[in-house]
Symmetry: C2
Subunit: 259 residues, 2 copies
């Protein structure tokens, strides 16, 4: 298993690299096109982590865990139910999630597993999906919850989830991550709020990728947020939120206050 | 008024240019960053037109014309109701709109006015919006209509509208276009199916841009499809569809058959 990151070295430009313990190894070139090690290494504390990939789009699933599905009393979907979080919503680890200026309602964290696509794909089968999945990352699928049902005629899923900084990704992309054994743990100001097993997923990653690839072309670097489960809640201004998946890492962000 | 296009000259790579009558003038550089005329010109028939811009996202509005709003019996929205059509959905003039392989339901044309953003903006006022609108283009906001309500729990607006080739843009971007005097005319196999005045718009372009810029950052080249009005309908395989806005041009595409 390799942990791939994107980072900014001291005084340098963004590049990709690997993280082992606290050692960052610098690479040159595109993450999905065979980058080469430069031989330079840094201490993790010296660099500034960024979102580990630069998606053209993030596809966010709704209602994809049995426990949540049962709690809200909705049938398990047979095809992913999704919306698109645009590139402007993406932010990295250790950044501030900003409150949309004219929105005073609840802003909610949703800890999720993110699938990172490694190679453009369209119309692929579930048995082929593994070859197109580069790895997995942590996602905080931030949501302005009270916008969703503001209109009685049109559920505003996109508007509620598209704001700048509303898609926290990172800290790393873990290749060969065994999602079946993983758990998503979300803490708010250090208190555990979510802790759910990924094995409870309704539509598993390889089937998600295959089903979505029938709907639209997925590009290298695109991320699919697999949906959340129990324990979603609102963040108060200044709150510290962390999505932790063992084997991937801890994605720390702060809401509405400098990190 | 200038008509900006993107095109591929004979044997050459994509670039931007202007169209006057049938004469294409080639420019070098980014459309939104002061491109320079190369001095080369072509006949329109010699070049291959492409989508006139390359959006990071297309924001598509629902229910933004009084006539349609009244017909479907929904209140006029006070804030744009929208979803995102991703970059993979964008296609240009004279291309084939492809049927999603596993979808056998109706595929619908929706002729619309498209606002093209010229400069990154966030949190701007309606009085400032004009400075961020580069111009206007024609949009065919293609929709797999029967997917929208397939799930009783989640309206699948994004899935219905995100497929590759489901966002036809072009043929040109007209600067200084007076939308208040314009009409959208959509023909199917030469028969007029839509013919509605843009003055019937509920939220006008400068207010749309301001309102959306409060929700998310808009980037240069992003397109906002202003919503459609009466006369939407299904396309049969092989149908020829044209969205025409006088002052912008005719956007011709073919459905499920080579153009």
């Amino acid at each position: 298993m390799t942990s791939w990151i994107r980072f900014r070295p001291p005084g340098g430009a963004s590049t990709c690299g690997t993280l082992r313990g606290n050692e960052v190894a610098e690479f040159r070139g595109e993450l999905f096109a065979g980058p080469q090690a430069t031989g330079r290494t840094f201490e993790l504390g010296e660099v500034r982590l960024e979102s580990p990939c630069v998606p053209t789009k993030v596809i966010a699933l709704w209602n994809n865990f049995h426990a949540l599905s049962e709690k809200i009393g909705k049938a398990a979907p047979t095809h992913p139910l999704f919306l698109i979080k645009p590139a402007n919503s993406v932010t990295g680890p250790a950044t501030t999630i900003r409150r949309p200026p004219r929105y005073e309602g609840k802003v909610v964290y949703e800890g999720e597993l993110g699938i990172v696509i490694g190679k453009r794909c369209s119309q692929i089968g579930a048995d082929e999906a593994r070859a197109y999945i580069f790895g997995y990352t942590c996602v905080n699928d931030v949501t302005a919850g009270q916008l969703i049902d503001e209109s009685p005629d049109f559920a505003q899923w996109t508007r509620a989830k598209c704001a700048d900084t509303f898609c926290c990704l990172g800290p790393a992309i873990a290749t060969d991550f065994d999602w079946r054994a993983g758990r998503v743990v979300t803490t708010l100001d250090g208190i555990e709020r979510q802790n759910y097993p990924l094995a409870d997923m309704i539509i598993p990653p390889h089937e998600i990728v295959a089903a979505l690839s029938a709907d639209l072309t997925l590009d290298a670097g695109d991320v699919i947020a697999c949906g959340t489960s129990l324990g979603v809640g609102a963040m108060k201004d200044g709150a510290r939120v962390c999505v932790h998946i063992e084997g991937i890492g801890e994605l720390h962000n702060r809401f509405a206050a400098p990190f």
